[in-house]
Amino acid sequence: MPESEEIEDRRRRDYDFIVETVARGARVLDLGCGAGALLKMLVDRREVRGTGIEIVEDRVYAAVEKELTVHHGDFYEGLGYYPDQSFDYVILSQTLQQAHDTVAVLTEALRVGQFVVASFPNFAHWKPRLHLLFYGRAPVTRTLPYQWYDTPNVHSLSIRDFRIFAREQGIRIVRHFYLNKRGRVRFWPNLRAGYGVFVLERAPAADV
């Protein structure tokens, strides 16, 4: 990972919220952990017992250099290595929109972990909306920085999409944070927030 990307990584605003959410000393699995910036923060600040899964070789090396435990490979396959409820938290930081089979990944993540922390860029943020409206082109913004032909994102979803999806899948939203560059967004998040961060758990059977 080039240095600039690494710095950008470290600054990602959802990290602070995730770090605050995760309990001290918890067992944490970070899916798509990249060079390990978030995991390192969690180890240093929350003393978690952390593990990452990452498919890009150079990022795996960068994470090992941070003294982190990392599995090099596909994260769906890597999830399958763990028995039920091996972790307190499974983190999908900016990873959900990049997973081909969202339902399968979330189902596996909720099998392996008690809570899943998922964050993703909100496609219905006003900036991409205006981009589409005025330019008539696939949005390229700060939160969605990729050209349509060169993006790791395979799904374009909004905060509202995700809430509906969670209800349909019997997934309970325990906490949520909506973020833009100034911090937390409380009103009209689907329009005003660049990111959504959700803490999820498997809903008890009676709730479904």
């Binding site: 090992v64 003294e67 090099h72 028995p83």
Partner: protein, 389 residues
Amino acid sequence: MSDYLISEKSLGASVGEVAPQSVEFESLPLDSGQTLAPVTIAYETYGSLNEDRSNAVLICHALSGDAHAAGYHAGDDRPGWWETMIGPRKGFDTERFFVICSNVIGGCKGSTGPISINPATGREYGLDFPVVTVGDMVRAQKLLVEHLGISRLLSVSGGSMGGMQALQWAVSYPEAVASCIPIAATQKHSPMQIAFNEVGRLAIMSDPNWNNGDYYRGDPPDGGLAVARMIGHITYLSDESMHEKFGRRLRDKSSLGYDFTMDFEVESYLRHQGEVFTRRFDANTYLYVTKALDYFDLSAGHGVLEEVFRDLPQDMRFLVIAFSSDWLYPPYQSKELVRALKGNGIDCSYLEMSSSFGHDAFLLENSDLTRMVWHFLEATAHRIGLRFD
């Protein structure tokens, strides 16, 4: 593993001149039920042991390796087999760690093996040498490690058969191992691996000079051993690396010979490798060590591999490394290992390094491998409270 001529320049700092050492023990019980007595272990060490004896790292060698893992013997310009990885500021950093490597029992480089004198007959053991296992090799290394006054190794590592010994260490002596780095290894030999070994053994045993292993007073079965080595060598390379290294280039001729002399570069290379090998290796040792490899199965008697790791201490750490083009010990075998470790909540990192060099990749200069091992050992040292100035 292959013999590589590595340029001095690429090797960086070296531990310099080293001297082989050896120690004799009264006896060693073997998995077969037999006892080997007495037993000599040849070994070398690099770096220095710290005061509380907590910085020792054991390196285990592969099929054709020996105790000479790093540095140079007096008057020899050829370094040890893992000079790329062991030395000052290298992966196994001898400025920080006390690195030990010993020749396996059954070997032919100083430890008791078929070439040693059988005290019962006064002649070389030959086939009277008992069949040994990877478990036996490790039991012998444990005697050595205790002899050196070390109760717990900071790490045990090796490639190929060395990686299998490292795994065996973790399972046999979990309290004596803080971390384990198996590289290009497996938890059990596959039918394909057994098959290649059996062809190698038959090549040796079909050589009339082999004489049921009793050849030490006459001509050794060099022809058979060379063929065994050639077969082995092919399995250590990859289709891609052979394309790159040889292509279809002809050897000392401009057109095909239309006879059965050597035509291609690759043929000449393999014959040379086979021939060189006979000068430094014993045919019976090849039989014994390949047999030990074929018998290796960590999960034997346990059913599933998960069971084997059930009693490992939760603070033991693993770094499992495989190479993408290794078709002899393919990455899937390392992943099976990783799955079983994770299933038991053991701290385990897995790296699948892209390489075109096949199984031999672990022996070649590789800055990623160096970096990863260095950092993993650093982290392990931190966890056990070991600090460096």
